[in-house]
């Protein structure tokens, strides 16, 4: 046996054990990403992909197609509104839920489990239930809205682009379908925020709050000055994670509205370029634009809200 030290052997064993993981990540994530960069600059369509290679002519025309396609800019706005709206809503509901379930009560364990259902249930199933519930013809929500809340007529939550609400004489235009998918997003992902916030809440030592209570701090003051600062880092992390996930979300919007009625988010556009127009190049270019916008926002976010670097092991 050669003079390999224990340290060298450990290094070799470590690399050997991690290599299958690296291989999969390299093959299924890293290389495809690099390839997207190439595809985005080549005119490749689905029909001729079998005989095109890396050395196809490079061109910018995919980006021209993407930027010139109708509704490109409004779709970016929609994607942002959807991502931010869904993130904020899910975190607020998650926070309220975590605060309500903080102290033990009968049935808390059951409710805690039940509240995770929207998050763990298959997206296809929950999207269809929502679709049926919100239907203007046989949906339970419209039925009860008309019967009990005195709505003039059923609301087409998922197919109506805009509606005018008159509140106190003001006519306000509301993007109905977009708001509906944002609410769906809040409903589906609040359990994620709830779990993380609850875990953090339960790790806050009780004596801090107790001391503040003795000093005469009211519940809102204790929340504002003691609990909330403790939650800031986990909320910042959640905001970032959820924003990234929502920004690229495809399934939810695709299943609920198919991207119609003003819910034309960028990921659905990528899908449409690929499957409706068979345009691989334009789909890659649109995906790259999506990723670029995301990166710009992430960098901005990290510059302003960067949580203090918490080094782990």
């Amino acid at each position: 046996m050669s003079a390999a030290t224990l340290r060298q052997r450990e290094n070799r064993a470590g690399l050997a054990l991690i290599s299958p993981t690296l291989l999969v990540v390299l093959a299924v994530v890293v290389l495809p990403v690099v390839w997207t960069l190439i595809l985005a600059f080549q005119r490749i369509r689905l029909i001729n992909i079998r005989d095109t290679g890396l050395f196809e002519r490079y061109t910018l025309s995919n980006f021209v197609i993407v930027f010139d396609s109708p509704g490109f800019w409004s779709s970016l706005g929609t994607t942002l509104a959807y991502a931010i709206g869904g993130t904020v809503l899910s975190i607020i509901i998650g926070l309220v839920a975590a605060l309500a379930l903080r102290k033990p009560f009968r049935g808390r364990g059951f409710l805690r489990g039940a509240m995770l259902l929207p998050y763990v249930a298959p997206v296809v199933a929950v999207a269809f239930v929502w679709e049926v519930m919100l239907s203007p013809q046989y949906g339970v929500l419209n039925e009860w809205g008309v019967r009990l809340l005195g709505w003039d007529r059923p609301v087409a939550f998922l197919t109506q682009r805009e509606a005018t609400l008159s509140i106190l004489g003001l006519e306000i235009s509301v993007p109905v379908a977009l708001l509906t998918v944002i609410v769906f997003e809040g409903w589906r992902y609040f359990p994620f925020a709830f779990l993380f916030i609850l875990a953090r809440l339960q790790a806050i030592p009780g004596d801090l709050e107790e001391a503040a209570r003795v000093d005469g701090a009211t519940p809102t003051q204790r929340f504002r000055h003691i609990v909330l600062p403790q939650l800031a880092s986990v909320i910042a992390l959640l905001a970032m994670l959820r924003f990234v996930m929502n920004f690229n979300k495809f399934d939810d919007v695709f299943l609920l509205t198919g991207g119609g009625a003003g819910t034309d988010v960028a990921s659905v556009r990528v899908y449409n370029f690929l499957t409706a127009r068979f345009d691989v190049g334009a789909a890659s270019a649109q995906a790259l634009v999506l990723a670029a916008v995301l990166i710009v926002f992430l960098v901005g976010y990290l510059r302003f809200f960067a949580p203090k670097p918490a080094e782990q092991t």
């Binding site: 994530v29 509901i93 995770l116 009860w144 986990v234 790259l288």
Partner: protein
Amino acid sequence: MNRDAFETRLFAVLRWVVIVVLALVTLFPFYYMVLLSVRPVENLLADPGRLWVGLSEWTGRTYQEVLGSPEAGGQGMLDLLTNSALVSLGTVVLTLLISIPGAYAVSRLRFAGRTQIHFLFLAVYMFPAIVLAVPLFVLFTKLGLRDSLPGLMIVYIAQTLPVSIYMLRTYLSSVPVSIEEAALIDGCSRWQVMWRVTMPLAVPAIMANALYVFMVAWNEFLFALLFLAEDRSNWTVSLGLAQLAGGIEVPKTVLMAGSVVLTVPIVILFYAAERMLTEGLTSGADKG
């Protein structure tokens, strides 16, 4: 009444309001799903607002239609269930085979690049699936893997690996190293130590992990849609249900029966393992 007493009383009431509203909002859609799946569609159209189903109208025909084979006039969801189960179980086994050694290496061994590897995992975890979808679609078409379940499994493995390794690593770092050192001194090899000593101790974490991977694979929709849409015999339940909804006129009650069939396995697994899962996923969160 001073402000403190007022607030205390206000929040005591609000807390229960919130609890009741949350319970309703989260559970109602699932109740409604089950309710519609056993109601005849004529009754739904006649009285959409009803929130219970009388024993006399109760029907199982919706389930017959959704599960039955196409020859018998059904939607053939039973075959799709098999596909989903195969893909999910295959993904679980393969992911664990890759992630267990990986997690062991990351938590126990000092190797070149160990500290940087977390960034790679975070990047993979956060990386938009939709950006990967296009090149993988092209690549798998070229390789002839696209219309196949193994092709789908490869994608799922890559998507679940980072979280899987993260969860296992967190657990492993709570298992004392001294036992392993003792085994090493007694002459076990690294490989033996890992499989004979460490892994038996990590069984709870591995189970939780298996469930997490299973759920991701079972629920996944985008890649199933992109890869398998052309060949009906390969469809997963999620995809089959989506195609069912988009295709010819199918009663919504049948669609709800299909949704119940799709959801029930996940709910059962989730309750069987809820505690393990939630602790595994959030155990890093309380470090601030």
